[in-house]
């Protein structure tokens, strides 16, 4: 807790009772079947978060089955040996809890936050579907969820301006044989091709305790919780080992400037400028993350000042990383044109700012601004049990070490302006840029001028 007071004298308004430290208490251990468990006790609210990450995502899909990892995530809410279809949702909500799941390139997560006296019910639900999903799987359920997912695709990709960027950007940035290249939501053809046998095979291969991490954060008694975890997850059998991913290694940069120009049903242009970047968790990753904040986080950032406020060529800008942990991460700048600005002008404006950053480097006060925002965002993100549990699971899954969650502020604070400048020069140069540019389709772009 001393971390935030060193900038300025402490003031007398605080109360004596405080969060013991900014370090989360962690109790991590492995069950005999390989499940990595982390408990983080905190009694500030009578709630508890149960959070499971499976180390499988769209990267693990085989050819012809794009979108399957995500479709499979939907199937996990269709019941298991002792739970009927949609009963998972119903039981958690009846307990006064919230829940969901999500799929990403490298992982799939499932999570619920419940009033703490319902903890064991949440563990039982997760254990039942980890241990005994297949008896509940039917062709009818698969057909229904296939249609639900197709509607999700229409909603989030096909019927949404710029919606295809989610699949076009990785397609542009990763070679065609690379596991990050293909669409996460999947093609309609591949979704149609998914069979019940695929569900069984995917489950047996990837939904095993040794390929998962379980985090429980909140109002718990550690020893009683350990006993519950042993009772519900202990009997589940270890898997037979997941197949290795093909090599994820890539050259450090693209080697050239690649581009994709898309005519879409939009009225103003939007530019995504992506670069290969050091993977999540490395020292250079933190420099890149601070660089993204300097360039594109909030209104004090370089891009906002220059493109939105001064030149008025953009209505919105941002910069962020995808936090990929294998092979190569992506550093992405996104800018949306003001009406009347064409894509070329917008892209040149973005590039000019990045060139300036590479050329002149960043100033210490820019890094101080970025770090001040990062610190507040980090502490804010520790408020909800579900967010704490998810952060712990992220480090446990992607880096194999849940305790890294407690190093984050130190890692960020260690970043200097020289580090950020070095990052920009190493990774944001002309040999490492990919432009994905959306322009109004001639028939619909009347307003774009």
């Amino acid at each position: 807790m001393t971390w935030f007071r060193d900038r300025k004298g402490y003031l007398p308004t605080g109360s004596p009772s405080r969060f013991p430290a900014m370090r989360l208490p962690l109790d991590s251990y492995r069950l005999a079947n390989g499940l990595l468990v982390t408990l983080s006790e905190d009694h500030s609210a009578p709630v508890v978060a149960v959070n499971l990450w499976y180390h499988v995502g769209s990267a693990n899909e085989r050819p012809g089955r794009t979108g399957f990892a995500h479709l499979f995530e939907h199937m996990l809410f269709q019941g298991s040996a002792h739970v009927s279809a949609n009963e998972h949702f119903e039981l958690v909500q009846r307990a006064g809890g919230t829940l969901n799941g999500s799929t990403w390139l490298e992982r799939t997560n499932y999570f619920e936050t419940v009033p703490s006296h319902h903890l064991e019910m949440a563990l039982w639900l997760e254990a039942d579907r980890m241990g005994a999903l297949l008896p509940a799987m039917t062709q009818a359920k698969l057909d229904t969820q296939r249609d639900v997912v197709k509607n999700e695709r229409r909603w989030s990709v096909d019927n949404q301006p710029y919606g295809t960027w989610w699949e076009r950007l990785p397609a542009l940035c990763f070679p065609s044989e690379h596991p990050f290249h293909h669409s996460l939501i999947g093609s309609m053809d591949d979704l149609n091709a998914a069979r019940l046998e695929d569900v069984a095979e995917f489950f047996r291969t990837y939904y095993t305790p040794d390929n998962a991490v379980l985090t429980i954060a909140g109002d718990i008694d550690v020893s009683r919780t350990r006993a519950m975890v042993a009772r519900h997850f202990g009997p589940i059998l270890r898997g037979t080992g997941r197949p290795a991913l093909p090599s994820m290694d890539l050259p450090r940069t693209f080697g050239a400037w690649t581009r994709d120009l898309v005519e879409d049903d939009v009225v103003v242009s939007r530019v995504f400028l992506a670069s290969r970047a050091p993977v999540f968790g490395t020292t250079a990753y933190y420099a890149g993350s601070v660089c993204a904040a300097v360039l594109g986080q909030r209104r004090g950032s370089r891009l906002y000042r220059a493109l939105v406020r001064q030149r008025e060529v953009a209505s919105d800008v941002s910069a962020f990383t995808w936090d990929l942990a294998k092979g190569s991460d992506l550093f992405v700048v996104e800018a949306t044109a003001r009406p009347g600005t064409d894509a070329g002008t917008l892209e040149s404006a973005v590039v000019a700012e990045i060139d300036r950053l590479c050329g002149d480097g960043v100033r210490a006060d820019e890094v101080a601004r970025a770090l001040a925002l990062v610190e507040t965002d980090y502490v804010s993100s520790m408020q909800a049990a579900g967010d704490r549990a998810d952060a712990i699971s992220k480090f446990a899954t992607l880096l194999g070490d849940p305790s890294l969650v407690n190093d984050q502020l130190d890692r960020y604070r260690a970043v200097t302006s020289a580090d950020v400048t070095a990052f920009a020069r190493d990774f944001l140069g002309e040999d490492n840029r990919a432009s994905l540019v959306y322009v109004p389709r001639p028939a619909t772009g009347g307003g774009a001028a």
Binding site: V148, R154, T376
Partner: protein, 453 residues
């Protein structure tokens, strides 16, 4: 794995953070809710300057003025103001909704006094430079342009237009129309600020790692002298008009989905049936396990999701069922939505459905208020709607006591099948005839850019 279903243990006690309320000599109210968990405090300035008060023809003024607060003060231009906040590790967010203007920030307690000094500058001495106002206007106009191809916001905007009579403020977007935004300028913002912003129309809410008396003193030092006469807010718009049932199609060529909105004018937040309606809506379409979602998504797979909601405002906001459905299921989805609305008015919900809804609403309460921002927002809402000081402490007991008869009565009193407006943004050539065949009325077909004022 084959273990018996676990039974719940004993609930841990929970208490919504206790708030202390004082009124300063200049009538400025200060509400402090100490939450000693993490070194964070959220500060809200709530000003009685909502979009409902926009002058006729100048819709969007309240929101433009609120946004412009963050664009500089008399002493600092926009970039300098942004810099000052962001070096404190915080960012000022300012905006207006129908009932008020809210300026918000979250900061570590060590930087609270500096942040309050800046906040006071923003509230009392905004810059309203012409260039900033023009840029904000251009951004709103760009947003309106983009809305033509963004089916969700297009459906929301068009639904407001068909649900409300043209004379209602609610028929036009809170942020204004193309015509109304063009009329706005820095002078209008300054005049609105002079008329609406004062200590007597403002409440400062602090939730987080602070104690009441020291922060009350801090607020008093920064804002205690802010006093000037303001005009009374004009009467709330009357929203009683409810049109006859009608079907509206907004054409989006080749759209693979139809964005559906089905509903009508609802009821004001202050209505005595509020809690019954909340429980009824949870069962109808508020929850994942609600009737409408299970029907449209899980039984028929028409959609990725479907839900219903009441938008709670001081005056009657809309009741809306929203879903994006595959084009060929557009008419079937509408028919099922109407069937569910009829069904919840026909007979009492089951004990099981009531149990799920009330236990969810009561149980989720501590989860909903885990953050300083959520607690501050709840206190703001309570203040704006005049809820009693013990509202949050008694909420869970009150929701658990709602009966099936009360749910049925709420459905019958506040859902109006004969007045439902059905709106679909989609491929008109594919959906117009099937919608007409439902015999709810002859669909009117318009284009996305039609009627943009």
């Amino acid at each position: 794995m084959s273990l018996e279903r676990p039974r719940p243990g004993l609930p841990s006690p929970y208490e919504f953070p206790r708030a202390t309320r004082v009124t300063l000599a200049n009538s400025l109210r200060v509400i402090v809710a100490p939450i000693h968990r993490l070194p964070l405090v959220t500060v809200l300035a709530v000003v009685d300057a909502g979009a409902c008060g926009d002058p006729e023809g100048r819709e969007g003024l309240a929101m433009l003025t609120a946004a412009a607060l963050a664009e500089g003060t008399v002493d600092r231009d926009g970039p300098a103001l942004v810099d000052a906040f962001e070096h404190l590790g915080t960012a000022l967010e300012s905006g207006a909704d129908w009932d008020d203007t809210i300026v918000r920030l979250t900061v570590t307690p060590a930087r609270l006094d500096d942040a309050l000094a800046l906040l006071a500058e923003v509230l009392m001495a905004p810059r309203f430079a012409d260039a900033d106002i023009e840029r904000l206007k251009a951004e709103r106009l760009a947003e309106l342009l983009q809305q033509r191809v963004e089916p969700r916001s297009l459906a929301d905007e068009r639904f407001s237009r068909v649900a409300y009579d043209a004379s209602s403020r609610f028929a036009r977007a809170a942020a204004g129309t193309r015509a109304s935004v063009h009329t706005l300028d820095a002078a209008a913002a300054r005049k609105w600020h002079d008329a609406r912003y004062s200590g007597s129309t403002t409440t400062i809410i602090l939730a987080g790692d602070v104690l009441p008396s020291p922060v009350q003193a801090m607020v008093e030092r920064r804002l205690g002298a802010w006093a000037r006469p303001v005009q009374p807010m004009r009467a709330l718009p009357t929203a009683a008009h409810r049109a006859a049932r009608a079907v509206h199609v907004v054409s989006k060529t080749d759209a693979p989905q139809s964005e559906l909105r089905v509903g009508h004018v609802g009821l004001p937040r202050g209505h005595r049936d509020y809690l019954f309606v909340v429980v009824m809506n949870a069962i109808l379409g508020g929850l994942f396990s609600s009737r409408i979602n299970l029907n449209l998504r899980e039984a028929h797979a028409y959609t990725y999701g479907a839900h219903s909601s009441f938008d709670w405002r001081r005056a009657a906001g809309p009741f809306t069922v929203a879903s994006a459905v595959k084009t060929e299921a557009t008419d079937s989805a509408v028919r099922e939505i109407l069937r569910e609305i009829d069904r919840i008015r026909d007979a009492e919900v089951s004990e099981d459905e009531l149990d799920l809804a009330t236990k969810y609403l009561a149980g989720v309460f501590p989860i909903r208020y885990e953050t300083t921002g959520a607690v501050a927002s709840a206190l703001a809402l309570a203040m704006v709607h005049g809820l009693s000081d013990d509202y949050f402490t008694t909420y869970r007991d009150r929701v658990l006591s709602v009966s099936r008869a009360e749910v049925l009565a709420a459905a019958r009193a506040h859902l109006h099948p004969e007045a439902l407006q059905v709106l679909a943004v989609g491929d008109a050539s594919a959906i117009e005839a099937p919608l007409a065949a439902l015999q709810l009325g002859t669909p009117s077909v318009t284009n996305a850019d039609e009627g943009d004022a």
